[in-house]
Amino acid sequence: MGLRDYVIIRVLLTIPLVLILLSVVFLLIRVLPGNPCLLKFEHNLDPQDLATCERSLGLYKPLYVQFIEYFVGLFRGNLGLSMVDFQPVSAQIVSRFPATLELTLYAFLIAVLVGIVLGSLGATKRGSVTDGAVKVIGILLYSWPVFFLGLIFQLIFGVYLHWLPTGGRLCPGCQVPQGLTIGSIHIQTGVYTVDSILAGNLPALADSVSHLILPATALGLVISGVFIRITRTNMLETLRADYVTAARARGLKGRTVVYGYALRNALLPVVTVMGLQFALLLSGAVLTETEFNIDGLGRFLVDRVNYLDYTAIQGAVVFIAILIATVALLIDILYAYLDPRVRL
């Protein structure tokens, strides 16, 4: 089948996956021992507050009604109101997501680049000192607690060397980049690096980049560990493959053979792993955002969790679940694009 058919089928398959995930989330939150309102107001048990809370969460309704309302709300994009500030959760998530997106995207890019470059380096220089170093670096990186690396970076580059800021997304008091306005259309993504490029605001770009370097690199390096290892392992195999020898026998240039034949095939399993790594990336983002004081989805989750704001937590988890399903889908499509054998 062609790529198009594969994509369609894959999208259709994602739907039950997402539905299951969302149901699991629902069950988890609802089937808690005790009553979210009770747990939240455990210190000052004002019956009035308790009643209002319960009513707003619809807790007195039978479970299946709650379930239906939950899904209906989801389709409408309504994730309920926060129990802390009574603001719509969906709006809060949407406003914070760009920060997380920015961080994870750059971290991911770093991870993939470092992973592939070092991994292929190790494989092509197999058995040498370089290869040994690559192996060690790989294991070291993926074992390294991301928050520890972040702290080290803050210490060295922020406190000792004063080269880079240790927190936040922009300098204190600096204005948020405005994006681009064409006529009546205003494009502002919330991703500061993109917005500052759109607005042609170079100082803002430099500022947001300088705030991104430490967190994105810390997160990216830790994630790259697995990529290094898998790229190396797979390339060791592909370099010995018959089609590589056959390609060499045809007199193709060494570089063509290594990259077009060996690496290209070695990367396929790496793409498969990317989906898993994305989950790790999100986990890492939660820690990194907290550590570097970045106002993204991760920190939102941590904050709300501390307040026991159940609707916010549920909303965030739902969002993450859908995000993951989408990313998994995209990665599968990418894989099908790269490996024609899968499309059949």
Binding site: I139, F147, L151, G275, L282, E291, I320, A321
Partner: protein
């Protein structure tokens, strides 16, 4: 692999023997806040003027207990589930796989965070949260190995001479899944430590407990004044522990698959 074993043994020994090692009380709130390493406090003190050396020695216990529990729980559920599902096949298998695949992709830390907040920060809750997220890993690996071995000609041969299901599992499938299970278990250990320490770092756990993650939580603000010792040693310990397990995992994998060298 040996290096890894050595590291893990060291950490485990240190943690188990902590009460007998004669360090200062890791929870004792003294007066010399945030002081650098000195003869009295070889690794310095933290924000609560607690001796860092003591905290380093004592800090791994909770993490290790959680990890052990999590791995045991996880294996107890994941392995049989994988075996059964692969054997049953059909609709049951597909449904279970679909459900577990959905969980598999979910970020473990996020899940653990929510569970711990809701159910409290005790050892069992941590272990349970981590276990739930890791069951799919064992499940997958056991299931795929079982499916492969199940179809092999020598299993058919065994069946044709009347070997019962249990015998087949015991003799053929079990030895084949052990390497994969061990590999997943070691990674599981390392991850459990990282997740628990990570949650402590966010401040979700019991902050009075001597714990490397908690040290990093307290150290977060202190380092801004250059006090490197409040995080360096505790962080290093976490690294050594996870690195140890990872090395064991890699070493073991290399042993059973010579291509990787």
């Amino acid at each position: 692999m040996l290096a890894g074993l050595a590291m893990v043994v060291f950490i485990v020994a240190m943690s188990v023997l902590a009460p007998f090692l004669g360090t200062q009380d890791p929870t004792f709130l003294g007066t010399k806040v945030d002081s650098p390493p000195s003869p009295q406090h070889p690794l310095g003190t933290d924000i609560g003027a607690r001796d860092m050396l003591a905290r380093v020695v004592w800090g791994g216990r909770f993490l290790l207990v959680v990890a052990v529990l999590a791995v045991l729980l996880c294996m107890a559920v994941g392995v049989p589930l994988g075996l059964l599902s692969a054997y049953r096949g059909g609709m049951v298998d597909r449904v279970v796989t679909l459900i577990l695949d959905s969980i598999y992709a979910f970020p473990s830390l996020v899940f653990a965070l929510i569970v711990v907040i809701v159910f409290g920060a005790s050892v069992f809750v941590y272990a349970l949260a981590i276990a739930v997220v890791y069951v799919p890993s064992y499940f997958r690996v056991v299931r795929s190995q079982t499916l492969t071995v199940k179809e092999l000609p020598y299993v058919d041969a065994a069946k044709s001479v009347g070997a019962g299901r249990l015998a087949i599992i015991r003799k053929y499938i079990w030895p084949n899944i052990i390497p994969s299970v061990v590999t997943v278990a070691t990674i599981n250990f390392a991850d459990a430590i990282l997740i628990t320490a990570g949650l402590d770092f966010i401040g979700v756990g019991d902050l009075t407990r001597p714990d490397w993650g908690v040290d990093l939580y307290y150290g977060r603000t202190t380092i801004l004044s250059g006090a490197w010792w409040v995080i360096a040693f505790s962080g290093l310990m976490i690294l050594v522990t996870t690195l140890g397990f990872s090395l064991i995992s890699e070493g073991y994998a290399e042993r059973t698959n010579p291509k990787l060298r």
